[in-house]
């Protein structure tokens, strides 16, 4: 009997913890807006939707063009230079390490952009004149996802800088070694 009571108490505590966590996570996602904001959303509904549509299109273009450049840098330059060093049995571990991180980040960039686009599409499909709160929350969610895409871009650029530094160091070492051979 005691065992049953103990299990019941543990289960109740677990259920309460779980439900409070769910409640707070849902609360965090859904911001409440003031009546003034709701009115503003309703009155600016058409212009806001137009702005979002333009952003949707321009971000897609940016994703295509920028994605192409990032992809080409990886496949047409970094991978090939690493391969050439490898073919000549030259230590390229630094380059390989940076390239791997860059490649993973490129995958994250693609995935995060997809998530962002899906959230922005959800926001675009919400009727802002009848559901201003839902619209506000959908836009807030898309904004968070867009920030993540920006973070990915910053990190990709950092990896490119790291590769550049490694390349400069490699060139310096090569020149030093070449001078020693001449002397």
């Amino acid at each position: 009997m005691m065992t049953f009571k103990r299990y019941f108490v543990i289960f109740t505590i677990f259920a309460l913890t779980l439900s409070s966590v769910s409640f707070f996570s849902v609360s965090a996602q859904n911001n409440t807006i003031t009546s003034q904001q709701a009115e503003q959303i309703r009155s600016n509904c058409v212009s806001t939707k137009n702005t979002l549509n333009q952003l949707h299109a321009s971000d897609a273009l940016l994703r295509v063009n920028r994605g192409q450049v990032y992809e080409s840098i990886l496949t047409k330059l970094m991978d090939r230079f690493n391969g050439r060093l490898s073919n000549k049995n030259i230590n390229n571990s630094d380059f390989i390490s940076i390239t791997d991180k860059y490649s993973s980040m490129l995958d994250s960039f693609r995935a995060d952009y997809q998530t962002y686009e899906e959230h922005l599409s959800i926001a675009l499909n919400v009727d802002c004149s009848s559901n201003p709160t839902e619209f506000y929350n959908a836009v807030a969610s898309a904004r968070t996802k867009r920030d993540q895409v920006h973070t990915d871009v910053v990190k990709l650029n950092q990896f490119l800088d790291q590769y550049q530094l490694a390349l400069n160091q490699f060139e310096k070492d090569y020149q030093t070694a070449a001078k020693e051979v001449i002397n």
Partner: protein, 123 residues
């Protein structure tokens, strides 16, 4: 042989044999529909839909997509490693990196309530 002894040919043909052509059409349609559903699922979930500028919402920007990547020179993965080839790679790499970092992509905050004109208004 009298009439009663004649075999009833019609009754020996099965339903499948009688409607063979219709069944072929029907099964073709079902297979096509299944393949379309699978294709659309893959299109939606692979990320292809997000970069497909032929979608109706992207008409305004379609023409600005870079389709000719001819200025992007490939670097050969075979060949000598010397000062000349390293410098050649440096030049190609720096050129493309500068292009990638030409502006702060996805920067700014165009989705902020204030940018969209739906921010809180203080009385």
């Amino acid at each position: 042989m009298n009439k009663a002894e004649m075999p009833k040919i019609e009754n020996t043909i099965s339903f499948k044999d009688r409607h063979r052509f219709s069944l072929m059409i029907l099964s073709s349609l079902v297979i096509t529909m299944v393949l379309v559903v699978i294709s659309m699922y893959v299109y939606d979930n692979s990320g292809a839909a997000q970069v497909d500028l032929s979608r109706p919402g992207y008409i305004s920007v379609r023409s600005q997509a870079v389709t000719n990547n001819a200025d992007f020179q490939n670097y050969s993965s075979t060949g000598e490693v010397n000062q000349e080839t390293i410098s050649e790679f440096q030049s190609l790499f720096v050129n493309q990196v500068n292009k990638a970092k030409s502006f702060d992509a996805f920067g700014g905050d165009p989705l902020s309530p204030n940018s969209l004109g739906i921010g809180a208004v203080a009385e």
